[in-house]
């Protein structure tokens, strides 16, 4: 995205302001015929980027959205009081009975439950392997849900690396661990790989599940024998042991002091363009929001350009903050701008979020959202006590990191102190929306949200389920293991924008489906 304000339409040769999908396609096809991708790969790439971006934008338009199986229903009213389900516990139901809302035969809910429930003396690996062979797994929907359940079940039972060791599975040990040996786990991983491609499809895994990198580390840990064990096994005499240990220590020291050792030349990925001075300036600006610093020249020009393209009065153009707000909102919500939306962005958190978003756009950062360690969450109750949001400390004093997933941007923040994790920050506007639509029945919302709702444009693939599950710990207990357990129940295992919402205890369940600029409540689950 250069200074061209009419991008991507200019690249496609489109005059229309809000072209339809058909118009975009026609323009792309015609440009493609004029261009030869073999002879002009850069030209083709530029065309392709513009094309994909234009399609992204149009996907949000209600009248131009790709065909959804069901037309959007009426706007939501308050939640009707429903009779609570007389059988809240999942029993072995007749497999032919279908739960309309979840779309799952009720009997298969038990497959998911069986991931967690261990009989005494039963090996976890054996139990899971058996589950994988269940004939019901032939159904792709069921398989997807069980897969997610197993993933999170296993991930939960790892502990982070310490010292020389990386992340490992907790085996044959404490309560929270897995009742399985290393060999059994290796076999199970092979089975999971052949069934789902867990160790042969990194791209899908990264998109579908959080902390995949950690998971791979733990799987790798299954293959490695701890060095000390190795040492002990091969050593015959204590003297030899000592000598070898000393040798080992010398080698390690040597490696530390020799920076050219080839072992360490492999790079570490860095998703922030920190080297660029310009970016540094912008980051400093973000951090000191409200203070004297200004964004970089490039960013200022960029934002000004956006502002004037939107016809923003010149008096306000110089106030970067305001024009950022204005432009973001206009970009996000086409059509008229409700005046009170502005006020929602008074909070430093939101502002920082938006600025971060625009800076990310400016530098076109492209990294998938990495879901973060749950133990860096902090629950902040709303002033009226009805709802809480996950946040990290005071945003003003945090560093922020910016990500772009496909189709949106997320800002994450890091708590002060020697923290290691990043936490996506939710804009209040989204939280408010959900709260409004659920009639204040929301308890907790946590996760990351992109600026553009691209992940929501295929409605069958993403639904929000709000319901109470008796297995979930209550919100007040912050040591809630925020696992994909909820994600699975919410049918979001394939989604890269994890969103979870909990209802207070003993509330009926309802399903919210995102439509262009909000949510539509559809059916009731039990």
């Amino acid at each position: 995205m250069s200074g061209d304000l009419r991008w991507p339409y200019s690249e496609l040769g489109l005059e229309a302001d809000q072209p339809t999908k058909a118009e975009i396609r026609r323009a792309y096809a015609s440009r493609l015929r004029q261009l030869n991708p073999d002879e002009d790969p850069r030209g083709f790439q530029a065309l392709r980027e513009a094309y994909e971006d234009a399609l992204d934008r149009v996907a949000q338009e209600p009248e131009n959205a790709s065909t959804s199986p069901e037309p959007p229903g009426p706007a939501l009213g308050p939640i009707q009081p429903e009779a609570p389900d007389p059988h809240p516990e999942e029993a072995e139901a007749d497999p032919d009975t279908v739960d309309g809302a979840l779309g799952l035969p009720l009997g298969d809910q038990s497959l998911i439950d069986r991931v967690e429930t261990r009989e005494t003396g039963e090996s976890d690996a054996a139990r899971l392997a058996k589950l994988l062979r269940d004939p019901r797994m032939a159904d792709p929907d069921i398989a997807a849900r069980v897969e997610a359940e197993i993933y999170f079940y296993l991930l939960d039972r790892t502990r982070p690396g310490a010292g020389q060791e990386g992340r490992v599975f907790l085996l044959n040990g404490p309560e929270r661990g897995l009742a399985a040996s290393r060999i059994e786990m290796q076999h199970l991983m092979k089975h999971l790989d052949s069934q789902f491609g867990w160790m042969s499809d990194a791209v899908r895994m990264k998109r579908s599940f959080p902390d995949y990198g950690d998971f791979v580390e733990a799987v790798r840990g299954l293959d490695q024998t701890p060095f000390s064990k190795l040492l002990h096994r091969r050593m015959t005499g204590r003297v030899v042991q000592v000598v070898l240990f000393m040798l080992f220590a010398i080698i390690q020291l040597w490696a530390v002091f020799d920076p050219t050792s080839a072992r360490n030349t492999t790079p570490v990925p860095n998703s922030i363009l920190a080297a660029s001075k310009e970016v540094r300036t912008d980051f400093d600006f973000l951090e000191s929001l409200g203070g004297p610093l200004k964004p970089s020249e490039g960013t200022t020009q960029f934002l000004r350009g956006l502002a004037s393209a939107q016809g923003f009065p010149s008096a306000v153009v110089d106030d970067v903050k305001l024009l950022v707000l204005r432009n973001t909102l206009v970009r996000n919500w086409r059509g008229s701008l409700p005046s009170d939306l502005f006020s929602a962005y008074d909070q430093p958190a939101e502002l920082q979020y938006l600025l971060g978003v625009l800076v990310a756009a400016r530098f076109q950062m492209e990294r998938n959202l990495d879901y973060l360690a749950p133990d860096h969450f902090r629950l902040v109750p709303a002033p009226d006590g009805g709802m809480a949001t996950w946040q990290i400390a005071q945003v003003a004093s945090n560093h922020t990191r910016l990500w772009r997933g496909s189709g949106g941007y997320v800002v994450a923040a890091r708590p002060p102190g020697p923290a290691t994790g990043w936490q996506p920050v939710y804009p209040a506007i989204y939280v408010d929306r959900l709260r409004q639509l659920s009639g204040n029945n929301l308890r907790v919302i946590e996760g990351g949200l992109g600026l553009r709702f691209r992940a929501f444009d295929k409605t069958p693939r993403l639904n929000l389920y709000l319901f109470d599950d008796p297995h979930f710990p209550t919100v007040a207990d912050v040591s809630v293991a925020l696992t994909g357990h909820a994600l699975v129940r919410l049918g979001l295992s394939q989604n890269r924008w994890p969103v979870r919402a909990f209802l207070p205890v003993n509330r009926p369940c309802s399903m919210l489906t995102p439509i262009t600029d909000g949510f539509e409540r559809k059916t009731l689950c039990d």
Partner: protein, 559 residues
């Protein structure tokens, strides 16, 4: 005139695009079996070689496409050949066929490869084409070629098509969308080691087990394999198939039902599912958004494949164009599209790379740095040509260089992916902070990969182009190969029919029992004598007669 070649595991074809349409060459027998045999010091290719698979297994090689890119040696009599050489022989024969039929010796050709062939396998294919005296201007993905053939036929029909291509040795799945005369491949997936041959093997194993057969010699293996093949084909027509099998300890009556075959192929069927599901997922579609399902490749004739595909997609799969020929037709069309021939009527096509490309990176694990992780920079199913940037930093302060090692594949650890090349980039020695290098990875439609790096702090750049498009062979080596191949003695076509018939007689003899066996033995003797007398008209007449008798025999072989 544009030429396209389908270099298949079981059969190969050559086709030509002229006057706005593609057509296969080879008259009534366009399929050229990808089999090479050696007979009295000369090479026999195609149909005659195929007949010799049963009678002379240690002198015949088939399904070598599966070994492309490897150094596996195929023993033919006293000599050894690798997969590239054998493929080159087939390609040369196809070239000859084109010359004879059209009067034009093909130079520039488009050769098809499975979408799921990796860079090394593709390079081997290019090398084989060059050794055959051809110029492979493009390698087209097989399902894309099929999509082009179908697409061109009905370019006005817009929508999403799922192409399921199960050949003799490879399995490819592609999702293609057609709109505004653009054929756009959205996703490709597959299994480069799954094909009709594997189903034959499953049946082979099941028969050996059920009928208590333990083949000890190459000849016995070949015979049982042949039985498995004919039974497999028989099951396409009926629920049950049976055939006799002469065996060392007494004849058997082999029989198999569709259910038993499906049961024996259970793990293969599972392997068919995954790429289909993955392609649909990668294309960002749901099952219902697929408008059309098309079957390509002879192995899709198996009812169990059709049933599986129908079940997975909820649609009745089509095979309106001959599944054996459609890839060749598409390859020739692709050649015409590249040249922007007027006969293509403004149709344009874009494809994707089926594999992710990326670098090896390290992770902070505990207190140390652990290498071996794969960081994809160009994710699979990105439309090509494509160029993507990624930012890397040093693992230690004061580090002097970064090694960029390029890998292709989907696994999270580089040890399970394919190494394609490396680039060492020097960085300034910075004891205070980490150094950052921005790497740009570009991949174009001819398979060329380029890495451009820039050190952020100094602006220093370094580039490398992974031009190893011919599997590590230099220009001179390729030329030498070409000459060697050209010098090999190939049995002249005039005698090929007789070779084929003799071999066919020997094969049927091995298959037959009792009276049939005696009859075939007599015919074999008769034919040999006629060949000695060398009266061409007599030989031709006998060929006709024997051919018909053998046709009857083979038709009634499987019940």
């Amino acid at each position: 005139m544009y030429f396209g070649i389908d270099l298949g595991t079981t059969n190969s074809l050559i086709s030509v695009f002229e006057n706005g349409r593609p057509r296969v060459l080879g008259g009534s027998q366009p399929l050229f079996p990808s089999v090479v045999s050696v007979m009295d010091g000369t090479l026999v290719l195609g149909a005659p070689a195929r007949e010799r698979l049963v009678s002379h297994p240690e002198h015949t090689a088939a399904a070598f496409k599966r070994a492309m890119g490897t150094k596996k040696a195929f023993r033919l009599g006293w000599k050894q050949y690798d997969a590239q050489e054998l493929s080159a022989l087939i390609l040369r024969a196809l070239r000859q066929r084109a010359l004879e039929e059209t009067g034009v010796a093909p130079q520039d050709v488009v050769v098809s490869v499975p979408a799921y062939f990796n860079q090394i396998q593709r390079n081997a294919t290019r090398a084989a084409a060059i050794a055959a005296g051809l110029n492979p201007i493009r390698l087209v993905n097989e399902p894309t070629a099929a999509a082009i053939a179908y697409g061109l036929q009905d370019i006005a029909a817009e929508g999403h098509t799922l192409v399921v291509d199960l050949g003799g040795g490879t399995f490819d799945v592609s999702i293609v969308e057609v709109f505004e005369k653009v054929i756009e491949v959205k996703a490709s997936s597959g299994d480069a080691f799954l094909g009709g041959e594997d189903f034959t093997r499953a049946l082979f194993n099941r028969l050996a087990q059920e009928f208590d057969l333990a083949p000890k010699t190459d000849a016995e293996r070949a015979l049982l394999w042949n039985a498995a093949e004919v039974l497999k084909l028989g099951l396409t027509r009926a629920q049950e198939a049976s055939c006799p099998l002469p065996w060392r300890d007494g004849a058997r009556a082999l029989s198999i039902t569709r259910e038993a075959f499906t049961d024996a192929s259970a793990s293969l069927i599972q392997r068919l599912r995954l790429p289909i599901e993955r392609a649909i997922h990668d294309a960002g579609l749901s099952r219902d958004e697929i408008d059309r399902v098309v079957l390509v490749g002879g192995a899709t004739r198996m009812p169990l494949v059709r049933t599986l595909v129908a079940r997975l997609t909820g649609k009745l799969p089509e095979s309106g164009l001959d599944p054996d020929q459609v890839v060749a037709l598409g390859a020739a069309t692709q050649a015409a599209l590249i040249a922007r021939d007027a006969g293509c009527d403004d149709v344009v096509m874009t494809d994707v790379s089926a594999f992710s490309l990326g670098f090896e990176v390290a992770r902070r694990v505990g207190d140390r740095i652990e290498q071996g992780y794969f960081e994809p920079v160009i994710e699979r199913n990105t439309t090509i040509p494509v160029s993507r940037e990624f930012v890397f930093q040093t693992t230690q302060k004061g580090q002097r260089e970064i090694l960029f090692e390029l890998f292709q594949g989907e696994a999270p650890l580089v040890r399970d992916n394919i190494a394609l090349g490396k680039l060492l980039v020097a960085v300034p020695r910075n004891r205070a902070d980490y150094e950052i290098v921005i790497a740009r990875l570009s991949y174009d439609s001819s398979g060329l990969i380029e890495i451009d790096t820039k050190v952020a702090s100094t602006g220093a750049t370094r580039s490398i182009v992974i031009t190893d498009l011919t599997g590590g062979l230099s220009e001179r080596e390729l030329d030498a190969r070409r000459k060697t191949l050209a010098a090999l003695k190939v049995h002249p076509r005039e005698g090929a029919e007789n070779v084929a018939l003799s071999a066919r007689l020997e094969r049927c003899f091995a298959m037959a029992l009792g009276e049939d066996r005696v009859t075939i033995q007599d015919m074999l003797a008769l034919f040999r004598q006629a060949l000695e007398r060398q009266h061409l008209s007599e030989i031709a007449a006998l060929r006709e007669q024997i051919g018909q008798t053998l046709d009857q025999f083979e038709a009634g072989y499987v019940r």
